[in-house]
């Protein structure tokens, strides 16, 4: 039986010898997920800000809905978009199915609720008087908004990092919407699924390690950023 250590050793070898097919997969993973996060972040943070700072009917319900959406399985997001984007579906004319754009769309839908929920709790904890003071001092609403975002930056960065962690590791929607096409829509999670189905565990573990290193790196980064945000004694 192929031992775990032998598979891990071979995995490290593949990584550090710059196995080109492996690095293409890693590149696709990051370019898709970074774009998804960049597109989703402004809307997500703005939504969170509106939910935290303005009172309107249905606000609490909306917050509950976003919190519930955190537990939607990725395959359900994938399936819903698949039906919409399919040739027979209402958006079929866009011909987006099995492209990177479809994957980005799926990942945006996945990280949006997480962004809103985490940014909302960060903004909720901020001091409302900062907003009012900024406005009284003659700042434009946009300038005041930027002040608030700057005040809560640690929480917001946490929201971004957590969202990125969710979408870089999800397999369900990428598999359905991207189709796991070599050199185009095959990312780390779908490649792991494929390698496992082929019985090539070393490649699967190599890709898994990249994901783990990334998670570690992100968490250290987050720890650094939040460490600076400590209350001054």
């Amino acid at each position: 039986m192929e031992s775990l250590s032998a598979a891990s050793y071979q995995a490290l070898y593949l990584l550090f010898t710059g196995d080109s097919s492996l690095w293409t997969i890693i590149g696709i993973s990051f370019s898709v997920s970074v774009r998804a996060l960049l597109y989703a972040a402004p809307f997500g943070i703005l939504t969170a800000f509106v939910l935290a700072y303005f009172r309107f009917p249905g606000r609490r319900l909306l917050v509950s809905i976003f919190n519930t959406a955190l537990s939607i399985p990725a395959v359900v997001v994938g399936l819903t978009l698949y039906i919409l984007l399919s040739k027979a579906g209402p958006l079929g004319a866009w011909r987006l199915l099995f492209t990177q754009d479809a994957m980005i769309l799926g990942q945006m839908c996945l990280c949006f609720p997480l962004l809103v929920a985490m940014a909302h709790s960060a903004l909720q904890a901020s001091d409302r008087r900062a907003w009012e003071t900024a406005l009284t001092l003659g700042a434009s609403p946009l300038r005041a908004l930027l002040t608030i975002l700057h005040e809560t930056r640690f929480g917001l960065i946490g929201a971004l990092v957590a969202s990125f962690g969710r979408i870089i590791a999800e397999v369900g929607s990428s598999m359905m919407l991207g189709g796991n096409i070599l050199n185009y829509t095959r990312n780390i999670p779908t490649a792991i699924a494929l390698e496992t189905s082929k019985g090539s565990f070393a490649e699967g573990i190599a890709l898994g390690m990249v994901l783990l290193f990334m998670a570690l790196f992100l968490n250290i980064l987050l720890g650094q950023v939040q460490g600076k945000g400590e209350v001054i004694q």
Binding site: K87, G179, T190
Partner: protein, 268 residues
């Protein structure tokens, strides 16, 4: 109250004893297309009725099925990839291999058939036409039996599949068929999966019948010399039974959506 607990306890004990006495089931790794064909749902209950052996089926890709056999995680494998099967036996991981039936592959594609392969006799000519017209072809790309067959066919046609028209999907047969339908592409598919899915996609069967498209199935016991704890006795029973007249007749008479699917190889 105390009495009730005691009663419950003895019942639990009895139950666990019953489980322990029950024979270990036979673990069989097979491919998803075999599972999807529905044949096992007819074959295995009949086998269990005659021999009392219960079979647990694990349906995965061919590569993984053979790996499970290699690692001793299953007792018997039923796959359709001749070269890989021969290697598996030659390396000593498998024993008592029998080719007991076959079905065939077909090429399906968009209804308007842009590469004009309908009615073409030779499958290599059909594949040359697909490449020549730069029509999309969706490949399984997952090292499965079907993928290996497809690669052999490209090789026979002297074509190195490459370029924008050739899409390596890396997914199961059902998903690849859906992709071919969505992208208006061609694909190679086993007849069983095609019959099961053809109502769900907007495509036609365009090429069939060439000898090269035959797809023989093998059943192989995991070698007890490599893995002494496998259930070799029951694996052998299964192999003998699918080769027997009873088993072969069941295979011959099996129908999927009213059409015969498998042709027995050992029927006398």
């Amino acid at each position: 109250m105390y009495k009730k607990i005691r009663l419950l306890f003895s019942l639990c004990l009895l139950w666990s004893l019953a489980i322990a006495v029950q024979a270990a089931p036979l673990r069989m790794a097979t491919t998803t297309s075999t599972q999807n064909s529905g044949l096992l749902d007819i074959l295995l209950p009949a086998f269990q009725k005659q021999t009392g052996v219960e079979v647990h089926v694990i349906a995965v890709g061919t590569g993984k099925a053979l790996k499970m056999g290699r690692d001793g995680d299953v007792d018997v494998v039923m796959v359709h990839a001749v070269a890989a099967e021969e290697k598996f036996v030659a390396e000593g991981f498998g024993t008592d291999r029998v080719q007991f039936m076959y079905n065939d592959f077909v090429i399906v594609g968009p209804n308007n058939d842009p590469a004009a392969i309908k009615g073409v006799k030779s499958v290599t000519e059909a594949m040359t036409k697909i490449q020549g017209s730069q029509s999309k072809f969706i490949s399984r790309g997952d090292d499965s039996g079907t993928h290996k067959k497809e690669q052999a066919l490209w090789q026979a046609a002297n074509i190195q599949p490459d370029g924008n028209w050739y899409i390596e999907a890396g997914q199961g047969m059902g998903k690849v068929l859906q992709m071919a339908s969505e992208l208006d592409g061609y694909t190679l598919i086993d007849r069983g999966t095609w019959l099961a899915y053809k109502g769900k996609v907007d495509m036609s069967l365009l090429n069939e019948g060439d000898n090269q498209l035959s797809n023989p199935y093998g059943v192989i016991a995991v070698n007890p010399a490599k893995h002494p704890d496998t259930n070799y006795a029951d694996a052998k029973k299964l192999i003998d039974w699918v080769s027997s007249q009873d088993g072969q007749e069941l295979i011959r008479d099996y129908r999927l959506h009213g059409e015969p699917l498998f042709i027995p190889l050992l029927l006398k």
